[in-house]
């Protein structure tokens, strides 16, 4: 087996192996150390051709034995009564229980624990990326644009809270499940949106984060099948991500949807996304927000070009969204769609009304949408002014360049 193949196994299996180790040894840090030991052992043994038939179970079993060794060493050093009890517990959990079903359940436990509502959204995202997706602390730090030291501290405190506050290692039951699942999906979507349009920095996108989010949604869809909101979210992300190659120039400049070369889109991914949208909308019950958003993305994905997109239906779907999950951001998107059906003047009225209600205080895309509408209405002075506000509101370099380009085109 080549190092690349082994790397892929680790990538696919490490999260699940860790999830089970945490349950078996009852401690996040000990489980992480034990998994590292197991991976190191695998790196020594596997290249010689003796790759186990079930690498996941192998990593768990070796990891558990290494955890026991670690606890034994602690006892030797400190003679702790508690550690002894810990070892008894470890030995009591039998070897035979590492089945695939148990591993799936453990993975869900891990995801729900990392996305526990007693953590801030930022901590939920960081813990999920580190523990479930297996990113290093340094990689998570880069995702948040904070120092590695600061991120390591934040993760350490979060893991301490799990232990000290008694956050259960469980999939929530009955009544609690739905709101908690919504929280998990929100975390996944946060990871994705940061990958789709970064908050700040030099690069428009962070494809690695988008990929992790899609991987997580696929995992949840496999572990909790038949849920419309999960399929909807997965479809939404696949359809957005499919446009990636068309969304920027080789030099890293933004290419707007209306200017994109649609042959660059990933049509295999679009086909998968379209199928999922249908599945999501077919699940009985009220339409789910992610599924409706995915339906909008599907209309864009199927349109031959920007002008011949089914704008009336898109505007209608935004009206559905306004009913089932109203937010200022949905109102803004609705106004943008209305501008393609009833013209920019009508859309500007909607945005003025939205602004008058004070809904979008710090939302940085508001001046950008307003600027575009003003530009199309030929109100050039006001448009230039709005592009300047838009530029001041963003910390993302490609967006700033785009606003500057527009301002220049308007003779500013």
């Amino acid at each position: 087996m080549t190092p690349v193949e082994i790397e892929k196994i680790f990538r696919d299996e490490a999260g699940r192996a860790l999830a089970t180790l945490i349950r078996l040894v009852g401690d996040f840090d000990l489980a992480e150390d034990a998994l590292q030991d197991a991976v190191a052992a695998a790196l020594q043994r596997w290249p010689d051709g003796c790759v186990p038939s079930n690498p996941r179970a192998w990593l768990v079993n070796v990891g558990r034995n290494r955890a026991i060794d670690r606890v034994r060493r602690q006892i030797a050093f400190r003679g702790k009564q508690e550690a002894l009890a810990h070892e008894l517990l470890l030995n009591a959990s039998g070897q035979d229980e590492v089945t695939d079903v148990a591993l799936d359940d453990d993975m869900l436990r891990l995801i729900f624990t990392c996305c526990h509502p007693s953590f801030s959204a930022e901590v939920q995202v960081a813990l999920t990326l580190r523990t479930v997706c297996g990113l290093t602390s340094a990689q998570v730090a880069r995702a948040f644009l904070v120092g590695e030291e600061a991120m390591a501290q934040r993760l350490l405190r979060a893991k301490q809270k799990i232990r000290l506050a008694g956050i259960p290692y469980e999939v929530p039951e009955r009544d609690a499940l739905e709101p908690r699942l919504r929280g998990v999906l929100a975390v996944i979507y946060l990871v994705f949106t940061e990958g789709y349009v970064a908050t700040s920095g030099e690069d428009l996108m962070r494809p690695d984060l988008a990929r992790e989010a899609i991987r997580l949604a696929r995992l949840i869809d496999a572990l909790m099948p038949g849920r419309g909101e999960v399929k909807g979210l997965l479809a939404l992300m696949l359809l957005h991500d499919a446009r990636r190659a068309g969304r920027q120039t080789a030099g890293g400049d933004i290419v707007l949807l209306e200017e994109q070369d649609r042959t660059l889109w990933d049509h295999v991914q679009i086909t998968e996304g379209l199928k999922l949208v249908e599945d999501a909308l077919r699940v009985p019950g009220r339409p789910q927000s992610y599924a409706v958003q995915a339906a909008i993305a599907a209309l864009h994905a199927q349109a031959p070009n920007y002008r011949d997109t089914d704008w009336p239906q898109i505007a209608g779907l935004y009206e559905v969204l306004l009913r089932i999950s109203p937010s200022p951001v949905v109102e803004l998107n609705h106004a943008a769609a209305v501008s393609m059906v009833d013209g920019p003047a009508r859309a500007l009225d909607l945005i003025d009304a939205l602004e008058a209600r004070g809904g979008l205080g710090g939302y940085e895309l508001l001046p950008a949408v307003r600027a575009d509408l003003l530009r199309r209405l030929g109100r050039l002075d006001a448009a230039r002014e709005a592009y300047r506000s838009a530029s001041a509101a963003t910390q993302l370099a490609p967006l700033r360049r785009f606003y500057a380009r527009r301002t220049a085109e308007l003779g500013g």
Binding site: H116, G166, P168
Partner: protein, 116 residues
């Protein structure tokens, strides 16, 4: 595990409460306390006199200093607590959400430290 559920609420708002409302609150607290005694979660619990009755003590360089009032001026003030036994944080949060004061104030849930 044991958790301390600290009940914070705005004293000024509380002062404006009518007699009937006050009576209702007492009844609600009575029923809630009864329910967690019966379920076996209750370890202890008390209401506190308002922060106007508080005195804060510090010892600096061996000398005792007292100040009139609470340790910190905040929008909501500590008004009472429950000490509960619960198997995990989710259970403790569920109990906290049922405290009558959660509807108008806030409940801080803190695990009790275990020394080993």
């Amino acid at each position: 595990m044991q958790y301390l559920l600290l009940i914070y609420r705005n004293e000024a708002e509380l002062g404006k409460m009518g007699a009937a409302e006050r009576q209702q609150m007492m009844t609600d607290y009575g029923a809630f306390t009864q329910s967690i005694v019966q379920s076996g979660h209750f370890k202890a619990g008390d209401g506190l006199q308002p922060t106007t009755t508080a005195t804060t003590v510090r010892v600096r360089d061996g000398k005792m200093l007292t100040t009139d009032g609470p340790f910190a001026e905040t929008r909501e003030q500590l008004g009472g607590y429950y000490l509960v036994e619960a198997k995990d944080l989710d259970t403790a949060l569920g109990i906290a959400a049922r405290i009558p004061g959660a509807r108008t104030g806030s409940i801080e849930v803190r695990p009790v430290m275990i020394y080993d």
